[in-house]
C-alpha cells in the first residue's frame, strides 16, 4: 500500500547515499577527482598520492555508512517498543552509559582490545536504557515523551560526571578518551569495520525478522496480544538489537547523537508505519545523514575538522526541539 511513495523514497534515498559516499571519499582537506577513485579500485597497489588518499578515506566512509545505518535503526527500534517518538540512544542516556563502562574498563580493568570495548559498552548501554525507562515510568501517565527526555538527560548528566571523575586524574586515559568523548568516525580502519560488521548485521537482521511483529506492537498491547503476538518477547528481542547496534557503534566511534532520533521520525512522518520499509529506509537515510555530517564537519572545520558527533548534534538539535513540541500533544 502506498507503494509509489515508498518506491520514490528508496530511489531518492539510494541516490543520496551514493552521492554522499562519493563526496565523503573525494572531498577533504585535499580533494581528489573521480578518476582517482576509480584508479583506487582498479589498482590497489598504486603509489599515486591522490589514489592513496582515496584508499585511506574509504574505511572512514564505509564505517560512517555502517554507523549511520546502525544508529538510525537503533533509534527506530527504541521508538517502536516504547511507543515514544523521542526514544533514541542519546536521549535514553545509552551512549553515556556505554561511555562510562568503557572508561571504567580502560581505567580499572586495563581493557585494551576493541572487542572488549564493544562488550562493556553493550552491558553499560543495556543497564542505562533499562534504568532510564524505569525512572521515566514512575508516577502518573507512564513513560511520556517529556518524562523520558528528563530522565534520560538527568541520567546522562550524572553518568558524565562519573566519567569525568574517573578520567580527570588519569592523564593517559584522558588522552584516549578525549577523542572518543565526542563521536568521530575519523580514525577508523578496515579492521574496525571487520570487527563491528558481525554485530551490526545481527542487529539489522534481527530487526528485519521482527518487522511484522513491530507493526503489530504499535497497536495497543491488548490488541497485539489478542492478535497472537508475544508482546514481551518481541520487545525484548527488539531492545536487544537496538542496544547492540548503538553500543557497537559507540564503542568504536564514541557517542554520536540525534541520528537515531531524527531519521526514523521523519521517515515515519512521511511514509507511515510498515516496519520492513521503515527499517530499510532508516538505514539508507541514516547512513547518508552521517556521511553528510562528516563531510560538513570537514568543510566547516577547515583547516582541521569538526567531529561527526558535533555536526549531527548541530543538525539534530533543532529537529529534536520540533519533535518534542509535537510530542506534547501526540504519541507515536
Amino acid at each position: 500500500m502506498n507503494s509509489k511513495k515508498t518506491q520514490l523514497a528508496y530511489i531518492i534515498g539510494i541516490s543520496i547515499l551514493i552521492l554522499a559516499l562519493f563526496i565523503s571519499i573525494t572531498y577533504g582537506v585535499k580533494s581528489v577527482g573521480l578518476s582517482d577513485v576509480i584508479d583506487a579500485f582498479i589498482d590497489s597497489n598504486s603509489t599515486d598520492y591522490n589514489v592513496n588518499i582515496v584508499q585511506a578515506r574509504i574505511p572512514r566512509s564505509v564505517f560512517g555508512l555502517i554507523a549511520g545505518a546502525a544508529l538510525s535503526i537503533s533509534g527506530l527500534l527504541m521508538q517502536s517498543i516504547t511507543k515514544n517518538p523521542i526514544a533514541d540512544p542519546s536521549i535514553l542516556g545509552v551512549n553515556t552509559g556505554a561511555s562510562l563502562f568503557i572508561v571504567i574498563g580502560i581505567t580499572f580493568f586495563n581493557l585494551q582490545s576493541k572487542l572488549s570495548y564493544i562488550g562493556v559498552s553493550f552491558i553499560g548501554a543495556i543497564i542505562t536504557a533499562l534504568f532510564v525507562y524505569k525512572l521515566a515510568s514512575a508516577g502518573y501517565g507512564g513513560p511520556t515523551p517529556i518524562k523520558l527526555a528528563i530522565a534520560g538527560a538527568a541520567t546522562s548528566t550524572a553518568l558524565s560526571s562519573f566519567v569525568s571523575l574517573i578520567v580527570m586524574p588519569n592523564s593517559s586515559v584522558m588522552t584516549t578518551y578525549r577523542f572518543w568523548q565526542i563521536g568521530s568516525i575519523g580514525g577508523t580502519s578496515f579492521d574496525d569495520i571487520k570487527l563491528v560488521l558481525p554485530f551490526i548485521l545481527i542487529g539489522i537482521i534481527l530487526s528485519i525478522l521482527l518487522s511484522n511483529n513491530l507493526d503489530t506492537i504499535l497497536l495497543s498491547e491488548d490488541t497485539a496480544t489478542a492478535l497472537g503476538l508475544n508482546v514481551n518477547r518481541t520487545k525484548a528481542i527488539a531492545a536487544f538489537s537496538g542496544v547492540l547496534l548503538c553500543a557497537t557503534v559507540t564503542a568504536l566511534a564514541g557517542p554520536i547523537s540525534f541520528v537515531g532520533l531524527m531519521v526514523p521520525h521523519i521517515i515515519r512522518m512521511v511514509l507511515c508505519s510498515n516496519h520492513l520499509h521503515l527499517i530499510c529506509l532508516s538505514g539508507i537515510y541514516g547512513a547518508s545523514i552521517l556521511l553528510i555530517s562528516d563531510v560538513l564537519g570537514r568543510i566547516l572545520g577547515r583547516p582541521g575538522e569538526l567531529e561527526t558527533g558535533i555536526m549531527t548534534a548541530i543538525i539534530g538539535g533543532p529537529i529534536f526541539i520540533i519533535i518534542i513540541r509535537k510530542a506534547k500533544v501526540q504519541s507515536l
Partner: protein, 267 residues
C-alpha cells in the same frame, strides 16, 4: 471443523493480589449474540480479557473446543478468538486499509508480505463495516463512529469464529450505535460469528442480544434470554436502581425505564 465452543469453568482472575473474577462459570452460546451487563467495575472487561488470554486465570480452566487455552499456541487462538478492546490506539497517520491489514497478523507466515487470502479478508472486513471508501484515508481524519468501525474491521480481518467487543458503542451517538450494532447483527446472521459484547445501554442490549449475562462484583449473577432475565428485580440487583419494565412496541423485547428519585413513583 468450526472451533467455537468456549467454556469457562470456575475461573478466577485479578490484578496482582486483588482477585476480581470470583469463580465464574460460563458457556458462550455458539453462533449467537450475547451481551454482558453490569455496573462499572463489576469485572466485565476483566472477563473478556481472560477469555482472550490477555490475563491468565489464577484458578479454573477455559477451554476452546475442549482444549485448554493454555495448551493452544497464541497465534492459533487468535485465529479463533478476536477482540475489540475497550480502548484502541493506532500509529499516527496510518491509512485505514493498512490498519485493517494488521488484523491478518495471526494468519501470516514468518517474514512474508500479504497474500491473496489476506487481501480478500481485508476487503471483506472493510465491506462488512462499510468503510471501503475510506481505505486510503488517514485514521486521524475520521469521526469517532468511523474510527470504531475501522477497529472492528481490524478484528474482522482476523476471520475468527468468536468475536469479543468491549463497549463498541460507548462515546458514540445513537445513530452510530444503531449502525454498528446492525452491522454486527448482520455479521452474526451471515457468517454465524459468535459475538460477545459489553454494552451499557440495557434497551439496546435486549433489542440485539439473543442472550444476556449479568455481572456484579466479579460474579455472574444471572444469565438467560432477555425476556427471562430482564426483571425489575434483576435491574435492582445489577445497578441498584428501581425501574419499570414495559414491552418495546417494535421488537416486543423488554424495555427498562429507570425510576428517578424525582419521579414520586412508588414501586
Amino acid at each position: 471443523m468450526n472451533s467455537n465452543t468456549l467454556i469457562a469453568k470456575d475461573i478466577q482472575a485479578g490484578y496482582g493480589q486483588k482477585n476480581i473474577l470470583q469463580s465464574v462459570n460460563i458457556h458462550i452460546p455458539e453462533n449467537k449474540i450475547s451481551v454482558i451487563l453490569g455496573s462499572n467495575g463489576s469485572g466485565k472487561s476483566t472477563m473478556l480479557k481472560t477469555f482472550c488470554r490477555l490475563m491468565t486465570p489464577t484458578a479454573g480452566l477455559i477451554t476452546l473446543d475442549g482444549t485448554p487455552l493454555s495448551q493452544i499456541k497464541s497465534k492459533d487462538i487468535a485465529k479463533s478468538i478476536g477482540l475489540l478492546p475497550q480502548t484502541s490506539i493506532a500509529p499516527e497517520g496510518i491509512k485505514v486499509a493498512e490498519l485493517v491489514s494488521r488484523g491478518r497478523y495471526p494468519h501470516r507466515q514468518f517474514m512474508t508480505g500479504l497474500n491473496k487470502d489476506d487481501y480478500k479478508a481485508i476487503e471483506e472486513a472493510m465491506e462488512a463495516m462499510k468503510i471501503t471508501e475510506l481505505a486510503d484515508r488517514s485514521i486521524d481524519e475520521l469521526s469517532g463512529g468511523q474510527r470504531q468501525r475501522v477497529f472492528i474491521a481490524l478484528a474482522l480481518a482476523q476471520e475468527t469464529d468468536i468475536l469479543f467487543l468491549d463497549e463498541p458503542t460507548t462515546y458514540l451517538d445513537i445513530a452510530y450505535q444503531i449502525e454498528i450494532l446492525d452491522l454486527l447483527k448482520e455479521l452474526n446472521k451471515k457468517r454465524g460469528t459468535t459475538i460477545v459484547m459489553v454494552l451499557h445501554d440495557i434497551n439496546l442490549s435486549t433489542k440485539y442480544a439473543d442472550y444476556l449475562f449479568a455481572m456484579k462484583d466479579g460474579t455472574l449473577i444471572k444469565q438467560g434470554t432477555p425476556s427471562e432475565i430482564i426483571t425489575e428485580d434483576t435491574i435492582r440487583k445489577i445497578y441498584g436502581i428501581d425501574s419499570v419494565i414495559i414491552r418495546d412496541p417494535i421488537s416486543d423485547s423488554p424495555f427498562v425505564i429507570p425510576v428517578s428519585a424525582h419521579d414520586n413513583y412508588l414501586s
